[in-house]
Assembly symmetry: C2
Homo-oligomer: 392 residues x 2
């Protein structure tokens, strides 16, 4: 596996869905993501890998019998956050095809089926629920509920998919012996090219609905206002402060304002909190503190606040024995936790699951500036090939 081989395959998808920002707009089941799926099918066909769909929007390219006994899954997702980087997701799929090439070049013939997955809507960037495809396949979300999720234009996931998702595969646990997802590391936590995941922090999304009274920004006395933007702004700062105090991560990065006009005090401001922590008790504590401070401030602003937990994921501890075995295979690769959610985290509740991380020198992710060096990516392919060889 040469660096040039990685660079050549990577270059094929680099232009797809790239915005002027340099970041990507690869929302699930939109034109760029569909183009990436076509690319996936073409590369599967070129390698004589049978492609199956699971009725949930997830694609699989099989070396060996689809869903055959003891199958090992690898792969990742194509979709991006808005103006996100190109590595988060696609690196795991590109690396999987190259790992197959690497193993075949060695004349290796797997004893178990190997499936390369492209999971749908991992980021939740279009329909709001992260890891939607893997949640459906493992039965972690109801297919009817998933079908009803809508994007910002009101299009439902069911409409985008063309059907109600088929939901959990009953024989998943019996058939799949392991899942290994390769992913770019996202926290400046790795100082060698490849590491192994230990755990995913508990994390979640909470929607804050701040309600006040729409009014004229020029004429309304300051004392007469009930301005929900003030309560939102206070909550943004409170979330940051509470996270710093407790060693958690908390971010309010998305906001919707009605009417969002310069000269009109808003009637409503909706903001989303993303919070994560190493321990569930820490996460609960920081979210409770932020909610309490939002309510206190609402009392002073004459506004109201409602909080809805949109998705909360408990701590994921990956299979410890598998992680240690993989670290050993890779000559003592470091084992480290992450604050980011992944499809592998969803699977870890059902089958032995592991993750490989590829070094990210700046730690920047979910940004056009996300980058991993070609040399490290090639090392990731080598590591993935070694692991898949051992598992199949």
């Amino acid at each position: 596996m040469s660096v040039a081989q990685f660079a050549a395959l990577w270059a094929e998808i680099a232009p797809i869905g790239r915005a002027e920002s340099g970041g990507y707009l690869r929302y699930a089941l939109t034109e760029p993501e569909l183009a990436l799926r076509d690319w996936f099918r073409a590369h599967a066909a070129a390698r004589d890998l049978e492609v199956t769909e699971d009725g949930n929007g997830n694609l699989f390219a099989w070396w060996g019998e689809p869903w055959g006994s003891g199958a090992v899954l690898t792969g990742s997702h194509f979709d991006s956050v808005p103006h996100g980087g190109g590595y988060d997701g696609p690196l795991g799929i590109v690396s999987a095809f190259l790992a197959v090439d690497r193993l075949r070049a060695d004349g290796y013939a797997p004893g178990r089926p190997l499936g390369i997955a492209a999971f749908v809507e991992e980021e939740g960037g279009r329909f709001g629920l992260p890891c939607l495809g893997s949640r459906l396949l493992t039965g972690a979300v109801d297919p009817e509920k998933a079908a009803a999720l809508t994007d910002r234009d009101g299009v439902s996931f069911g409409e985008a998919l063309g059907a109600t998702p088929s939901g959990a595969r009953p024989d998943l646990v019996g058939r799949v012996s392991a899942l290994v997802e390769l992913h770019i590391e996202q926290g400046r936590a790795l100082d060698v090219p490849v590491g192994v995941a230990s755990a995913i922090w508990p994390h979640g999304r909470w929607r804050f609905d701040f309600t006040g009274r729409g009014d004229h920004a020029g004429t309304t006395l300051m004392a007469d206002r009930r301005d929900p933007m003030l309560t939102f702004a206070y909550t943004v700062l409170a979330a940051n402060k509470e996270a710093r105090l407790s060693g958690a991560h908390a971010t309010m990065a998305r906001v919707q304002v009605e009417p969002n006009a310069t000269n009109a005090i808003p009637a409503r401001v909706r903001g989303w909190l993303d919070a994560r922590a190493a321990e569930e008790s820490t996460l609960d504590g920081v979210v409770d503190a932020i909610v309490k401070r939002a309510h206190d401030r609402a009392g002073r602003d004459g506004t109201e606040v409602g909080v809805t937990a949109e998705s909360v994921t408990a701590q994921v501890a990956f299979d410890t024995a598998l992680a240690e075995r993989i670290a050993g295979l890779l000559g003592g690769a470091p084992i480290l936790p992450t604050g980011a959610g992944h499809d592998a985290g969803v699977f870890s509740a059902h089958v032995p699951t592991a993750m490989l991380f590829v070094r990210n020198p700046t730690g920047v992710s979910h940004s056009p500036a996300e980058h991993a060096p070609d040399e490290d990516c090639a090392a990731g392919v080598e590591a993935l090939a070694k692991v898949l060889e051992a598992l199949t």
Copy 2:
């Protein structure tokens, strides 16, 4: 002029451009505002008033010779802020037609031409510059610059108008002897049905561009962040505090976030400050203090902030003698200032200008809840008729 006559004419336009919120989406030169212009033409025709356009998007219905010597202008605007009330603007136009009916019912024949105006883009809700039509007609904005202003979809004012605006009317000052705009009051400042304006507070809009570094909300260490949402939030609260301390009004009610995703620290947040005060020195002081605090906070957040004054309007003092004459005509109506900008404010730099205010019991404006009782609106028509009779 009966209350029923007012209510009947008002009911004709009430459904046009009304959103589910109960508020209005009557952006300049969009379908609802064009429908209101058709309504304007139909009512002018029914009254045998000749309609002229001024090449800037402003419409006029003339009782007498268009732009004839000593012409008196009245009227207001049709466009709304997003989800604004129905009174802000249209009340002045509907009242003008009814005032003509009232004067004709008395057999009055004006000695000077009377023009009912419908000014374009008073709110700046579509193209961002308030009083765009009156600014063009009086030469307060360059036609090429106005043509290049774009809405949120990238459509320019020139494209929406179908031409570069024709700009200032050179003989405006020589031809127009007075302008009287009737408008709903917007600050709970009137306890009788009709009042007269003394002045408009100096006011303006400033755009704050907060720049940081886009990154992953889950994995980025709190200490490593350069999150412009924090600087924005701090500035929102600083604007409120500084306004309260100085007796000014300051509001940050509009925001744009890139990428505006729950799990991505923003790269950029753009917020708009609306600030107004009774004195220019107070306004300057409060804006300077907010800008300074934004910069101080940006230093702590590792972000950058750029501030652009998008429009700043000096204090408008309406013609004192005219205001006193009108107050006398109306039996001692109160004379009061306002924090809201108006087309009349733009004209006041060029021709004797006055405003009538109709009582707003709650003071709520720029909101679906904006309301004036039919009885007060009918009293407004009576007052306007009396004033126009005296001036023509």
